[in-house]
């Protein structure tokens, strides 16, 4: 059996400056409610990292904390050598991180193209080449470009949400449950598309309910329980670990 890397005091974490994203001793939550305590996590350049864990473990909260959407309570979030732990989303977007929320991730009354334009709002001009890239990646969006986003199917909306997030060519893409609400036959397709985004050089930090599939595809995974790190290792190692399988992957 492969060795299991649990977090303990002896584990030496990499120097934050050597990582694209480094979360250290992070405490965060909403208002007075603390959700995360002492969380650490790393994402290297072009790495594909997945967070799994039971409901209410704080998986999405990690992601929201990276993007400045939670109440900061301590620790640090370092991105590309810069401490961003107390920044607001509208500042973080300039650093090269894009975030795709789980729900409500498109502007329903704006057209597909306008959604993509909004993704590049911070640029002075609409980057036509980026729009073209997104259309190449998701051809259905080109067909629907003048249609209101609210009229798209769930899978198409998810593609549009990712396309919007890719408009700034981010170094790190945060994906919150991209397969949620998709028909089963579309889930594979969605994971394939995420693989390709990662292959093209964008690091990914993803929360996913579909834990087995996500661990199969990622580079590394973290298991989060009750707002704290429980396990971390390569995806395949976690996938084959007896304990992890039993407790978190349904046997």
């Amino acid at each position: 059996m492969s060795q299991r890397a649990t977090v303990s005091a002896e584990v030496t974490l990499p120097d934050p400056s050597e990582r694209l994203l480094a979360i250290r001793n992070l405490d965060a939550g909403y208002g007075d409610l603390q959700v995360l305590s002492d969380v650490h996590m790393d994402v290297a350049d072009e790495e594909y990292v997945v967070i799994v864990g039971p409901n209410g473990a704080g998986k999405s909260t990690v992601m929201k904390s990276v993007f400045g959407l939670t109440t900061y309570m301590g620790g640090e979030v370092v991105f590309d050598g810069t401490d961003i732990s107390e920044r607001n989303p509208d500042e973080i977007i300039y650093e090269g991180i894009s975030y795709v929320p789980q729900t409500g991730n498109v502007f329903g009354s704006l057209s597909v193209r306008e959604n993509l334009e909004m993704g590049a709002y911070i640029l002075d001009e609409v980057p036509e080449d980026r729009i073209e890239d997104v259309y190449e990646r998701f051809p259905i969006l080109r067909e629907r470009s003048e249609q209101d986003a609210g009229t798209l199917s769930g899978g198409q909306q998810q593609m549009l949400a990712m396309g919007r997030a890719l408009m700034l060519d981010p170094d790190l893409l945060l994906l919150d449950e991209p397969s949620a609400g998709l028909a089963p036959d579309l889930v594979e397709d969605m994971f394939d598309r995420i693989d390709r985004i990662n292959d093209d050089g964008t690091a990914i930090l993803m929360v996913e309910q579909n834990a087995k599939e996500a661990l199969r595809r990622c580079d590394r995974g973290y298991v989060l329980v009750q707002g704290q790190n429980r396990y971390e290792d390569d995806g395949s190692v976690l996938l084959n670990d007896e304990q992890v399988r039993q407790d978190f992957l349904g046997g």
């Binding site: 977007i93 498109v106 009354s109 909004m118 709002y121 209101d148």
Partner: protein
């Protein structure tokens, strides 16, 4: 659903949507009655006149125009109310008094500009009581200047109120904001009453009557209202559809959280919302005074009920809904005169509001498009 449906459909409709069928029946009766009235026939049943009477085509058309004019001004003022509702998430009860404030600022500017050099004392001009009646044709430049001052002035008033009242409490709930806006409304209204008094002043009357097609006539002031409000609505449409900031406004009205994580500068969009909404409210008020000829300290407050009705009928949060709702409410308010005594036409406008909400709770444009 059309008024005429085939037998099978209509049977299904009676079962599924009895309310819609009842409304269609009432509308059908009114249209029939209107046609009979126009042809000058009366139909009696059991000694009661059930249909018809007399109505000149010309007076029908002038009622339509009256309703359209009031409706356009109401729609113009409603845009701001609808936008602050969708983007800032609260019903701004001070909006009606912004209309009044803009109108007073504009008319004082127009009055002083028109009165300069005529020997009238400035104080009298300022108080709008030199007895002079302005019109677009006879005093074009002062009227135009007043229009601009009304727009710019109400923007200033709105931004000042936002800075003093709403911005410090942006984190507070929308009920607190709503209550604060009622306070702002009272303060503004009685400040205006304190300065200008509570009397109604006549400030404008048509300088020229233009007749179209031999039957319909409009004054130059009415034409000004028509043209300016249509142009401004077109401008708002282009702003929302073509410009980056306009699209960001629609995006923010649609999903504020997503707008924030997308990098849209939300504070700037909020400021633009106040600027646009406030400016249009002031211009709407100014134009309404130009059309009706009189101004008083509480006309915006009274108008606010109509504005709310227009915005809700159109679908609160929808800018196009506010424009369409304004015109609909204006037309109903005016055309109800055919069947009701003049004191009851307002009631007809609100009846239409209730009926629309029963049939389509989110309003005409609600749920279709947020902007």
């Amino acid at each position: 659903m059309g008024l005429v449906a085939n037998a099978g459909d209509s049977r299904a409709a009676v079962v599924d949507r009895p309310g819609a069928v009842a409304v269609a029946a009432v509308l059908g009766y009114l249209v029939l009655d209107l046609v009979v009235k126009l042809s000058g026939i009366s139909v009696f049943f059991l000694g009661m006149q059930v249909l018809g009477g007399s109505l000149e085509l010309g007076s029908l058309l002038s009622m339509v125009i009256d309703g359209l004019l009031v409706g356009l001004a109401v729609g113009l003022a409603g845009i701001g109310l609808s936008m602050t509702y969708s983007i800032l998430d609260f019903a701004n009860f001070a909006h009606g008094d912004t209309v009044t404030a803009g109108a007073f600022l504009g008319w004082v500017a127009a009055y002083i500009a028109a009165g300069l050099g005529t020997g009238a004392p400035i104080a009298e001009l300022f108080m709008l009581n030199s007895g002079r009646q302005l019109s677009t044709v006879s005093t074009f430049v002062p009227v135009l200047l007043g229009l601009v001052v009304a727009g710019v002035g109400s923007v200033g008033v709105t931004l000042l109120v936002d800075r003093l009242t709403y911005r410090p409490m942006r984190a507070a709930g929308n009920i607190s904001l709503l209550i604060a806006s009622i306070g702002v409304a009272l303060a503004m209204r009685y400040l205006i009453a304190f300065v200008f008094g509570t009397q109604t002043s006549g400030v404008a009357s048509g300088g020229l009557r233009i007749t179209f097609f031999g039957t319909v006539s409009m004054t130059d002031n009415e034409v000004t209202l028509l043209v300016v409000s249509l142009l401004l609505m077109l401008a708002v449409h282009l702003l929302l559809q073509r410009t980056k900031l306009g699209k960001a406004m629609r995006a923010m009205a649609d999903n504020e959280d997503l707008a924030r994580v997308t990098g849209i500068p939300t504070e700037r969009v909020i400021r633009l919302t106040w600027i646009l909404g406030g400016g249009l409210a002031g211009v709407g008020g100014y134009l309404l005074v130009l059309e009706s000829g009189t101004i008083s300290f509480n006309f915006g407050w009274i108008l606010l009920l109509l504005i709310f009705a227009a915005v809700i009928v159109g679908g609160i949060g929808s800018i196009y809904g506010a424009m369409a709702g304004g015109v609909l409410i204006g037309l109903v308010d005016s055309l109800a005169l055919i069947w009701l005594p003049s004191g009851l036409t307002r009631a007809a406008a609100f009846l239409v509001l209730i009926v629309v909400l029963l049939l389509r709770p989110s309003g005409i444009f609600g749920g279709v498009t947020t902007a």
